[in-house]
């Protein structure tokens, strides 16, 4: 018997809400939005955790400027607090080395992390997910049954095509979808709102392409002061994720 499965529920007992930022598509801003959402939540007084499940390309520790942080071993692993956010990432353990895991290894690493991480009391746990519809998505749906999906897309048909597949998948997995955020919009108009209606998913609004973001990466205070953060905050309040 695998003892890890029995303890995961207990580890998340005091976590009020779990939101998985996902898309299926890569490079649409999942990690940036997951990280910014955590920062905004913390600033608005919520106790917030951020779990980076992009094992092959962990980014949240870079965005939050926490390359040097590391978890504390105390009756499990206690995530370091970075700018008010309790952050857990395999990057803390693997450093800059590649983490070449096959699917079955991804499942194992996920189970292990969930079994040993002590989040404590959280109002919100944000989960950043990798692109694709493999183990990370299927296992999160299977193991974290309470998790809700926050979708991210760009206006590109390449992104919409993949997000549309993910919406169908999440429906068959019975994972509730909070809504879809349109990111990096540059044009006046886009198809995303219309597509969202077609999918039966709530359109949460759009975020501009913000040329100041890259320079703010690694600096939480500066990230919070960008136009993007302001716009995201509005959308998250509208979506009922922030108050």
């Amino acid at each position: 018997m695998d003892p890890r499965l029995s303890v995961i529920g207990e580890r998340l007992e005091e976590v009020a809400r779990i939101i998985v930022v996902c898309s299926g598509k890569g490079g649409v801003g999942k990690s940036l939005i997951a990280s910014l959402t955590s920062l905004l939540s913390s600033r608005s007084g919520l106790r917030v955790g951020l779990l980076d499940l992009d094992f092959h390309g962990p980014s949240c520790h870079i965005i939050l400027g926490a390359r040097k942080a590391s978890p504390l071993e105390d009756r499990g692993l206690v995530p370091p607090t970075v700018a008010g956010v309790r952050l857990m990432s395999l990057a803390f353990l693997a450093g800059d080395k590649p983490i070449p895991l096959r699917g079955a290894d991804v499942t194992n690493a996920l189970l292990e992390l969930l079994a040993i991480t002590r989040w404590g009391r959280l109002d919100l746990l944000i989960v950043d997910s990798p692109p694709g519809m493999g183990e990370e998505i299927l296992d999160v749906a299977r193991i974290l049954r309470r998790a809700e999906a926050l979708l991210v897309t760009t206006p590109s048909p390449l992104s919409l095509s993949t997000v549309s597949r993910l919406v169908q998948l999440l429906k068959s997995l019975r994972t509730p979808i909070v809504g879809v955020l349109e990111n990096m919009r540059r044009e006046e108009e886009g198809e995303v709102a219309r597509e969202a209606r077609r999918w039966g998913v709530r359109y949460l609004g759009w975020l501009p392409y913000d040329p100041e973001i890259e320079a703010a990466i690694g600096d939480p205070a500066r990230l919070l002061s960008t136009q993007l953060a302001r716009r995201l905050g509005e959308a998250l309040r509208e979506a009922g994720i922030l108050r």
Partner: protein, 132 residues
């Protein structure tokens, strides 16, 4: 010592598996070499956590399973003693055994694409209930 967290998992697992069925006599636990668990710490944590539960009187037996790797690229098989991990690396693998793929490479061909055939992590092999 995150062995405490693993002990909690074992206790919950035994409780889940045996339902309300009375006292537990013996729990047989396989511990993968890869995770380099401190067995004394694990035993102590299991003892502490058993108090007042149906596992209170249980004996915990441990079997350490040697780690064994098989390269998917060239077929080579090898064991952990052939691999040398630094202290931080060992610590990382202690928490998440899959991270062995970040630190160990096939001694024959250099590939990190190998299977952990045996000796990965913690497993409850069997549970014996008290008679009567």
């Amino acid at each position: 010592m995150h062995e405490w967290a693993l002990a909690e998992a074992i206790i919950r697992c035994v409780e889940d598996a045996t339902g309300g069925k009375g006292g537990v006599e013996e729990v047989y636990i396989v511990v993968g070499e890869l995770q380099s668990i401190d067995l004394e710490v694990l035993r102590w944590a299991l003892g502490e956590l058993s108090r007042g539960t149906r596992l209170e009187q249980a004996t915990f037996k441990f079997e350490v399973e040697r780690a064994e790797f098989a390269c998917r690229n060239c077929g080579k098989r090898w064991s952990l003693s052939d691999a040398s991990l630094g202290e931080e690396e060992r610590e990382a693998v202690h928490f998440v055994p899959e991270l062995v793929h970040s630190f160990v490479k096939c001694p024959a061909c250099g590939s990190p694409d190998f299977e952990v055939v045996k000796g990965r992590g913690v497993w409850v092999k069997y549970i014996r209930l008290r008679e009567g």
